[in-house]
């Protein structure tokens, strides 16, 4: 087991290394150079060279690459061109904001999705529940996350006016850690979180449903029912067995879900890593964009690792060579 984890870790590090390299060269090939913001104000050429020097953009591409990778190992993502302070300090507070909607969104989405999936999977085959369940899941899955965001905004924020549709808290709200632990923050969190949850439900539902449909024909289900346990408990046995395909899909699908979260952050002006990445790209702020990208790939690689580990917890038959 430990050998397997080690190998997976090494593999993940290699993957992250390659992704970062790809990102590095992609930015360097970018036509515009980051001193653009100042050029419009008519900055002189020497001043521009001073800036390039300061940002480590001088020297050949290879030198820049080695310097960037060297710093990366020491956790230094370089200084942001725009904020002119370490990219990590810029991004650090945004990570928490993104996690506020990503983690609960992922979990609640998975729980609600698989719960519904179990119900739809357990319903009589070809029945009304099954058909409407599948249809609804497919339609929600078909809706891009910004369409879901816009609809939530239109209905709950502007028409019913129950929930504010922007930002993370009232301007004069509490600051520091306290800002996360008050009603006002929760009030602002509702809509973006719902958008992420809705974004997660369909895949979970459909996967759990097909798992349960397959599991319910197994012999052990008949024996469990013969034991006189409640119907719900029997369904739980089928559901428990269908968790495996779900997990193997759930974590690696983070690569797609991060896309959804980026769009949700833009629609609801939620100051997270995704929104900062889009702003950084538009501002040509390489280090922040690369750091944000690096974070997201790390999240995905960790997720894949987590999927492998939880897989063994869920399926005792899997033995790690």
């Amino acid at each position: 087991m430990r050998a397997y984890i080690l190998r997976r870790l090494l593999q993940s590090m290699l993957v992250v290394f390659v992704v970062t390299t790809i990102m590095f060269f992609m930015f360097r090939v970018m036509p515009a150079d980051p001193t653009t913001m100042f050029l419009e104000g008519g900055m002189t050429e020497e001043a521009r060279q001073v800036l390039l020097e300061e940002w480590g953009l001088n020297g050949t591409l290879w030198e820049q690459y080695v310097r960037y990778m060297g710093n990366l190992l020491t956790g230094d993502f370089g200084n942001s061109f725009f904020y002119r302070k370490p990219a990590w300090d810029v991004l650090w507070p945004f990570i928490i904001n993104t996690l506020w909607i990503a983690v609960p969104g992922l979990l609640l989405g998975a729980v609600i999705g698989s719960g519904l999936g179990m119900i739809v999977g357990w319903a009589p085959r070809g029945g009304k529940v099954e058909r409407s369940g599948i249809l609804l899941a497919t339609i929600i899955r078909g809706a891009p996350s910004f369409v879901v965001g816009i609809m939530l905004l239109a209905i709950f924020s502007s028409w019913l006016n129950w929930v504010p549709g922007y930002g993370m808290g009232d301007p004069q709200g509490a600051t520091g850690l306290m800002r996360y632990l008050n009603w006002d923050f929760a009030h602002h969190l509702i809509l973006p979180l719902c958008a992420v949850i809705i974004f997660f439900i369909p895949e979970n539902l459909l996967l759990m449903r097909s798992g349960v449909v397959e599991a319910r024909t197994e012999d052990y289900i008949e024996l469990v029912r013969a034991k006189g346990v409640s119907e719900g408990r029997v369904a739980w046995h089928a559901g428990r067995n269908s968790m495996l395909p779900l997990i193997t899909w759930l974590f690696p699908a983070l690569a797609e879900t991060i896309a959804g979260i980026v769009v949700v952050e833009i629609v609801f002006s939620w100051p997270g890593v995704g929104r900062e990445l889009v702003l950084a790209v538009v501002r040509q702020d390489y280090p922040v964009a690369q750091a944000a990208f690096f974070l997201m790939s790390i999240m995905i690689v960790l997720a894949n690792l987590a999927a492998d580990l939880t897989y063994s917890k869920l399926d005792p038959r899997v033995v790690y060579k």
């Binding site: 012999d219 052990y220 469990v224 006189g228 346990v229 046995h237």
Partner: protein, 356 residues
């Protein structure tokens, strides 16, 4: 307040064996090609503490009968008639009452040893689940009971913490048996418990079941296609063919003095241990296959494969009639003696065109 282990054991041991009465049981499956009467007009009783055998070729509907006793059939099956457990009709019970009866009154040992246990739960948890579903006991007490059951079937207690895939076929079947007796149900349904196992393991499992039965004095319905197993285990036996009981009665009488040609043919198809010196009888199989239950033949269902079939057999479906100590469903019961002698000869069964 949940019961202690001792209280649990005494309450379970004091449970009496159950009387089973099956009246006019019939099961019809609705398939895309139309309704199929898999089982029609089954009637039999199982006296408390006795073992009742249900024998027949595979596909004759015996598993369907067992499953209908516990209402485990899929929704597409319509079940008619009555199944009385100590007088209470299982088929009429509402969902809650049915759940209460299952495993407390009537337990099941399934055929497929390979995946009759949930792969992602430990065996111990699955047994504990069956106990705690009906009795208010703590997990520890239920676990102790499970250990007791494992001891009964000769499995080491620490195996309870392991998963089904870590058990061999025989061990898995013994685990299921342990689970079946966990609440000391009055009636045990054993649906071909040894078919999936090799002969040695088969014998071990059957002898295990027999001595548990004696010790716990339970009633049992044993479903099998193996006449040898039935003859050693069950007091009474019923021979099923194409969804019907064709002969029923005390095992000794049915096997020695069969009245229905199918029973005779069935015996020929099984190797029988003879006293020393007796000539080794040739193994004779019954040619042909089960009738198509979608369009059951008008007359006797065994007619197409019966070497002694007559015009009347084709026209009229024989009723189960008592003869001597057994009951048989054949128009020519009176010619049984003649049929028995002919049945021993191989050529009788080599069906040339309609032998008269």
């Amino acid at each position: 307040m949940s019961m202690t282990f001792e209280a649990l054991c005494t309450s379970l041991e004091s449970k009496p064996p159950v009387r089973l009465q099956v009246q006019d049981l019939s099961v019809t499956y609705s398939t895309s090609k139309g309704p199929v009467r898999a089982v029609s007009q089954i009637n039999f009783d199982v006296e408390p503490g006795t073992n009742f055998g249900l024998v027949g070729e595979s596909g004759c509907g015996k598993s369907t009968v067992v499953k209908s006793l516990m209402r485990l059939l899929p929704d597409s099956a319509k079940v008619g008639g009555k199944v009385l457990l100590d007088g209470k009709d299982v088929l009429a019970m509402d969902r809650k009452a049915l759940a209460a009866v299952r495993w407390t009154q009537i337990a099941l040992v399934t055929q497929s040893a390979m995946n009759s246990l949930d792969p992602v739960f430990t065996v111990g948890d699955q047994i504990v689940e069956s106990i705690r579903a009906h009795v208010d006991v703590s997990h520890a007490v239920a676990w102790a009971r499970a250990e007791q059951m494992f001891a009964m079937v000769g499995l080491p207690a620490e195996r309870l913490r392991e998963y089904p895939h870590q058990f061999s076929g025989g061990m898995r079947q013994r685990a299921v048996i342990a689970m079946a007796f966990s609440l000391n149900a009055g009636l045990l349904l054993a649906d071909e418990p040894t078919t999936a196992l090799d002969p040695i393991m088969q014998d071990q499992i059957m002898s295990r079941i027999r001595d548990i039965q004696q010790r716990l004095h339970r009633s049992m319905v044993l479903v099998t296609h193996d006449i040898a197993v039935v003859s050693e285990t069950c007091e009474t036996v019923a021979i099923m063919y194409a969804g019907r009981i064709v002969e029923m009665g005390p095992t000794r009488d049915v096997l020695n003095k069969a009245y229905h040609p199918y029973t005779m043919g069935l015996q020929n198809a099984f190797p029988r241990i003879r006293a020393k010196g007796e000539s080794k009888p040739p193994l004779i199989s019954i040619s042909g296959g089960l009738p198509d239950l979608l369009h059951p033949p008008k007359g006797c269902r065994f007619e197409p494969r019966c070497p002694f079939s007559t015009e009347r057999c084709r026209a009229e479906d024989p009723e189960l009639r008592p003869v001597g100590t057994v009951m048989a469903a054949c128009h020519h019961i009176d010619r049984a003696e003649e049929f028995r002698r002919a049945a021993l000869k191989a050529e009788t069964w080599r069906v040339e065109e309609d032998v008269q």
